[in-house]
C-alpha cells in the first residue's frame, strides 16, 4: 500500500547554530518500508534538487547497534513498544499522517547536526568503571566457575542494552540511570564482577553526574522507551549497591 505523509523535521546546521522545523511532503510511501527507508527516499529527493539531506544516525538497521534513534511525535523511537527507529515500519502510519521528527534532547547529548547528537558521554561512563579488569591472558578455564543459569540469564537481561540513549531522551530530567544501571547490573550479578562491584558503581555514578545528566526521580518513562526492554528494577539494584558502597566503603571486603 502507498501512503502520503507530511514530515516536520528538525534541521540544524551545526552544534552552535539554531535549529528549526522544516516541513517536507513524503509522498507515495510504501508501507513495507522501514522508517529510515522512508527518510532515505525523502533524502534522495532532496539531493536530486541539490539540497542537503537530513542527517540522521544509523548503521545496522537491525535494532542492535544503537546508532539510530529520533523522537517521533514526541516519543523516542516512535509509537511501537520495544522497537528501535530502524525497526519501525511504515505500516504503523496512516495516509495523511503528520510526523514530527526531532533529535534526542538532553544537555549531555549536544546536537551535532539535524537529528545527530553526540552520545560520547555514555562511552565516558563506561570508561570510568563499566568493565571487569581482566587483562588478556588472565582468564582461568571458562567452566571452572559454574554460574547459576538464573543469574546468567538475569545478567544477560541487563547486558542487552544497545546504548542508543532513548532512556535519556524519554526522561524529564535527562537522567542516564537506566543505561548506567544496566551495566552495573550486568557486571554486578556475575561472580567475576564482584571484586570491583562497589568501586564500579561509585565511579560510574560520579562520571554520570559530571557529564551533566539529571537525577532519577522514578518516572519510569525510560523503561517505556527502551527498545530492548531494560527494566527500572535495575535502577533499584544500582541504588542498593551505591548505598552499600557508601556505608561500608568501596572496595573493602565488608562491602561484599
Amino acid at each position: 500500500m502507498l501512503i502520503n505523509l507530511t514530515l516536520h523535521v528538525w534541521r540544524q546546521k551545526g552544534p552552535k547554530d539554531n535549529g528549526r522545523f522544516v516541513t517536507y511532503p513524503a509522498l507515495q510511501i510504501n508501507t513495507h518500508m522501514s522508517f529510515l527507508e522512508m527518510l532515505d527516499v525523502v533524502n534522495e529527493q532532496l539531493m536530486e534538487k541539490g539540497e542537503e539531506p537530513i542527517a540522521f544516525e544509523h548503521d545496522c538497521r537491525e535494532g542492535i547497534c544503537g546508532s539510530c534513534g529520533v523522537m517521533i511525535n514526541g516519543l523516542p523511537h516512535g509509537p511501537n513498544p520495544m522497537t528501535a527507529t530502524c525497526q519501525l515500519h511504515m505500516r504503523y502510519f496512516k495516509d495523511g499522517d503528520e510526523i514530527w521528527i526531532e533529535p534526542w534532547r538532553a544537555k549531555a547529548f549536544p546536537v551535532l547536526r539535524d537529528l545527530v547528537v553526540d552520545r560520547s558521554a555514555f562511552d565516558r561512563i563506561i570508561q570510568s568503571g563499566g568493565f571487569i579488569s581482566a587483562n588478556t591472558g588472565n582468564a582461568p578455564e571458562a567452566n571452572a566457575m559454574p554460574i547459576p543459569k538464573q543469574i546468567a540469564d538475569r545478567s544477560m537481561d541487563a547486558a542487552v542494552c544497545i546504548g542508543c540513549g532513548a532512556c535519556v531522551a524519554a526522561c524529564p530530567n535527562a537522567s542516564a540511570m537506566l543505561f548506567t544501571s544496566a551495566k552495573v547490573t550486568h557486571l554486578g550479578l556475575l561472580p567475576q564482577g564482584q571484586p570491583e562491584r562497589y568501586e564500579r558503581v561509585q565511579r560510574m555514578i560520579a562520571r554520570m553526574d559530571q557529564e551533566g545528566f539529571g537525577n532519577c526521580s522514578n518516572h519510569g518513562s525510560c523503561e517505556a522507551a527502551c527498545p530492548v526492554g531494560i527494566k527500572v528494577d535495575f535502577i533499584a539494584r544500582l541504588n542498593r549497591d551505591l548505598l552499600k558502597a557508601k556505608l561500608c566503603g568501596a572496595g573493602t571486603p565488608s562491602a561484599v
Binding site: 510504501n30 513495507h32 518500508m33 522501514s34 529510515l36 527507508e37 532515505d40 534522495e44 532532496l46 539531493m47 536530486e48 541539490g50 542537503e52 539531506p53 542527517a55 544516525e57 548503521d59 545496522c60 538497521r61 537491525e62 535494532g63 542492535i64 547497534c65 544503537g66 546508532s67 522497537t83 525497526q87 515500519h89 505500516r91 551535532l112 547536526r113 552520545r119 562511552d123 563506561i126 570508561q127 570510568s128 568503571g129 563499566g130 568493565f131 571487569i132 579488569s133 581482566a134 588478556t136 591472558g137 588472565n138 582468564a139 582461568p140 571458562a142 567452566n143 559454574p146 554460574i147 543459569k149 546468567a152 540469564d153 544477560m156 547486558a159 557486571l187 556475575l190 567475576q192 564482577g193
Partner: protein, 637 residues
C-alpha cells in the same frame, strides 16, 4: 611482490608454540616507546587495541562510528566456535581444524587454521572472565549448540546476540584502557589513506567526520581491522556503513589483495520488498534446524501456501541432498534457492523467495517449543514483513553476507607492506573459499587478543624507526592527495545521487559476480563497471561542503572505492576458472550441478598487486600445501 607466508617449521601441533618462543620480545620497560595505530574497533580491532595497551604499547585507535560499540560485529547473532569439547561429543582442536579446512574447500593455509583452533579455547576463557554472559545450563556450566551443519556442538552463544555480547566485552576492555590513558580513541574519524615512509607503514590520513578536518597520524606500525566488503553488492546483510576504503587504499599503496572473489552468500535472509530497500536482514541459520524449505513444483504458481497440496511442492534440498537436507552448507543452499527462483518458482509478491515452512515442526512440537527456540526470530520477521510465521511460511532468499577475501597476510598477520598488519574480516587468512558459521567471531578475537600482540612485538623489536612528523614530504603528499579527492567529489555537481550509482553498481556485481559466475558474464561486468565508474566521476552530485558533518560526502568516498574494488572482484572471479566454496564458476561443475574444484591449477591463493588505476593489476600466487587434511570432494548427498 614477494609472498613469503613465513609458516614456521615443525609438526602442525607445535608450530605456534615454537614460533612464539622464537619471536623477539620488546622489553617491558621499552614498550611504551612504541606506538601503534589501530583502525577499526570491531571484535578484531577492539580486542587488539586493548591487548596491545595492556602490554604497554601506546595505541591510537580510530573508528568512523560515534562509539566503538557500534561496529558491525555487534550484529552477529548465532555464536562463536571453540573446540572445548564440553559436550564430550568427540570435538577436538584437530577436528575444528579439519572441519575449517574442509569447509573452506581446501583454499586456506593449514598452519593458520590449526593455530586458530588452538586459540579458540583461550577466547572462551577470556570472554567469560570479562563477564560475557554466555548461555548456561541449569547446572551452571556453559551451554553449546550445533551450528551451520557441524556434527558436534561447539558453538557458544548469548541468546541471539552473541556478537553484541562479545563486542561489548572487547569494547569494555578497550574503554578501560581509554580511561587509563593508554589508548587514545578517535571516534567519528575515518581513515582515507595510508602513509608509507621508506617502504614501511608509518601512518594514516583521516577525516574528522564532524569538523571535516583532514590530517595525518603517525606511529611505528599500522593495523587495519576494518571489516569486510559485502556492501560492494549494495544490498547485503552488513551494516550500512561497512566499506572497503581502508583496505583498498592500502592495496593502492602496495598491499597485496588476496582472493577478492571469495564472497559468502547467506541462504536465509528476508527477500527484498521493493526498490527502496536499503539492506537485507539475516534470519539466523538455526531456523533451518526445524524449518523445511520448498517452492511450488510448477513455475508461476500464484496459489497461497495452504492451497498447494503436498504433492505439488518441491522440497528441493531434501530431494537433492537426502542426508543433509535442509541443513546443507550455505553455498549449496543458496545456489539451489537461486536456481528455483530463476526457474520462475519463486514465492511472494515479487517472486523472489523460497518458503521456509514450520508447519510440520509446529504440529510435531507445538507452538510453545517452537516459540522457545525461535520466538525472537519470528517476532523480528513479523516486524519486518508483517507476516506471522506461526501461520504462514517464512519467505527467505540468499544475500551477500561475508567476505573471505581481503588483504593478504603472512603467518604474523602482516601484509606485503612491512609494518602494516591486517586482522579480522579485513584479511584473507583462515576461511579459505567458504567460512563456516560461528567462525568469524572466533577469528576476529583470535587475531586481536592472542596473535597480533605477539607478532607485532617481533616487528617493533627489530625496527629502528626514524622520527617523522607531519611536515615530512611523504606525509604532506598523501594529505594533499586526500584533500583533492574530496574536493573533487564535492565539485562534480552532476545529476545522480551516490546511492543511485551504488545501487546500479551493486546490481552489476550481483548479476554477474554473485551466486553464479561465468566467463561471458564476468567479461560483461568488466566492461560495464569502468563505464559506470566514469559516470560516477562525472555525474555524481554531493551536496553540502567538506567542513562539517556531511553524510553524502562520506558515502561518496566509500562508493568511489567500491567502484575500483568491484572490478578487481570480477577480475579475480574470471581468473579463477574453477568452482570452490563461495565461488561458483558455472563452467566448472559436475553433471548434477555440484561445484568442481581444480586442485591441479588452483590450489593457491591469488594475490593481486596494484599497478595503476587504468592498468591491469598483476596476479601472484601463494601455493597451498595440504599435509594433514588431504583435499577431497565435499559431498553432502
Amino acid at each position: 611482490m614477494e609472498l613469503n607466508a613465513k609458516i614456521p617449521g615443525g609438526s602442525i601441533q607445535e608450530k605456534w608454540d615454537r614460533y612464539r618462543f622464537d619471536l623477539k620480545l620488546v622489553n617491558a620497560a621499552n614498550k611504551r616507546k612504541y606506538s601503534v595505530i589501530m583502525v577499526g574497533t570491531g571484535l578484531a580491532g577492539a580486542s587488539g587495541a586493548a591487548s596491545l595497551a595492556e602490554l604497554g604499547y601506546q595505541v591510537y585507535c580510530y573508528s568512523y562510528h560515534d562509539s566503538p560499540r557500534r561496529a558491525h560485529s555487534i550484529a552477529a547473532q548465532g555464536g562463536i566456535n571453540a573446540a572445548k569439547n564440553y559436550q564430550n561429543d568427540g570435538d577436538s582442536i584437530y577436528r575444528l581444524f579439519y572441519d575449517t579446512v574442509k569447509g573452506g574447500d581446501f583454499r586456506a593455509r593449514e598452519a593458520n587454521v590449526y593455530r586458530l583452533s588452538q586459540i579458540s579455547l583461550n577466547i572462551i576463557d577470556q570472554c567469560v572472565a570479562q563477564g560475557v554472559p554466555f548461555a548456561r545450563e541449569y547446572s551452571g556450566y556453559l551451554s553449546n549448540r550445533s551450528f551451520g551443519g557441524a556434527q558436534v556442538s561447539r558453538t557458544f552463544y548469548a541468546r541471539g546476540q552473541t556478537g553484541q555480547q562479545l563486542l561489548l566485552g572487547a569494547y569494555q576492555a578497550l574503554a578501560r584502557q581509554i580511561g587509563l590513558g593508554t589508548v587514545q580513541m578517535f571516534p567519528r574519524t575515518e581513515m582515507l589513506d595510508m602513509i608509507l615512509v621508506n617502504g614501511r607503514a608509518r601512518g594514516i590520513v583521516t577525516r574528522n567526520l564532524v569538523t571535516g578536518e583532514v590530517r595525518s597520524h603517525l606511529a611505528d606500525a599500522v593495523v587495519l581491522a576494518t571489516g569486510g566488503y559485502s556492501n560492494v553488492f549494495y544490498l547485503s546483510t552488513n551494516a550500512k556503513a561497512c566499506n572497503t576504503t581502508a583496505i583498498w587504499r592500502a592495496y593502492r599503496r602496495g598491499a597485496g589483495f588476496a582472493n577478492p572473489c571469495y564472497t559468502q552468500i547467506h541462504p536465509t535472509c528476508i527477500p527484498q520488498s521493493g526498490d527502496y530497500q536499503s539492506k537485507l536482514t539475516l534470519m539466523s541459520e538455526s531456523l533451518r534446524n526445524d524449518g523445511r524449505i520448498w517452492v511450488p513444483k510448477q513455475p508461476g504458481d500464484t496459489r497461497t501456501p495452504p492451497q498447494i497440496p503436498e504433492s505439488e511442492r518441491d522440497y528441493y534440498l531434501e530431494r537433492i541432498y537426502p542426508s543433509y537436507g535442509n541443513l546443507s552448507p550455505r553455498d549449496i543452499a543458496s545456489r539451489r534457492a537461486k536456481e528455483a527462483v530463476d526457474q520462475g518458482r519463486g514465492v511472494g509478491e515479487m517472486k523472489n523467495g523460497v518458503y521456509l515452512d514450520f508447519a510440520e515442526a509446529l504440529k510435531r512440537l507445538g507452538n510453545t517449543v517452537i516459540g522457545e527456540r525461535y520466538g525472537n526470530l519470528f517476532e523480528m520477521y513479523e516486524r519486518i514483513t508483517g507476516e506471522n510465521p506461526y501461520e504462514v511460511p517464512m519467505r527467505i532468499y540468499p544475500a551477500p553476507h561475508y567476505t573471505m577475501g581481503g588483504l593478504w597476510v603472512d603467518y604474523n598477520l602482516m601484509s606485503t607492506i612491512p609494518g602494516l598488519y591486517v586482522i579480522g574480516e579485513a584479511n584473507f587468512s583462515d576461511h579459505g573459499a567458504n567460512r563456516l558459521g560461528a567462525s568469524a567471531l572466533m577469528q576476529g578475537l583470535a587475531d586481536g587478543y592472542f596473535i597480533l600482540p605477539y607478532t607485532i612485538g617481533d616487528y617493533l623489536a627489530q625496527g629502528k624507526f626514524e622520527r617523522i612528523d607531519s611536515g615530512h614530504a611523504e606525509v604532506r603528499a598523501v594529505e594533499d592527495e586526500t584533500r583533492q579527492r574530496y574536493q573533487k567529489l564535492l565539485s562534480i555537481n552532476g545529476k545522480r545521487t551516490v546511492d543511485s550509482l551504488h545501487r546500479e553498481l551493486g546490481k552489476i556485481v550481483w548479476d554477474y559476480c554473485g551466486m553464479g559466475r561465468n566467463d561471458a558474464g564476468l567479461k560483461k561486468a568488466l566492461e560495464q563497471i569502468p563505464k559506470l565508474r566514469d559516470e560516477f566521476w562525472h555525474n555524481v552530485r554531493v551536496p553540502g561542503s567538506g567542513d562539517s558533518l556531511n553524510q553524502a560526502l562520506e558515502k561518496a568516498g566509500r562508493v568511489a572505492d567500491f567502484f575500483e574494488m568491484a572490478e578487481l572482484l570480477c577480475r579475480d572471479a574470471l581468473a579463477r576458472e574453477e568452482s570452490c566454496g563461495g565461488h561458483f564458476r558455472e563452467e566448472s561443475q559436475t553433471e548434477d550441478g555440484e561445484a568442481r574444484r581444480d586442485d591441479a591449477r588452483f590450489a593457491h591463493a591469488a594475490v593481486w598487486e596494484f599497478t595503476g588505476v587504468d592498468k591491469a593489476p598483476t596476479r601472484h600466487v601463494e601455493p597451498l600445501n595440504f599435509e594433514y587434511v588431504k583435499p577431497a570432494t565435499r559431498s553432502y548427498k
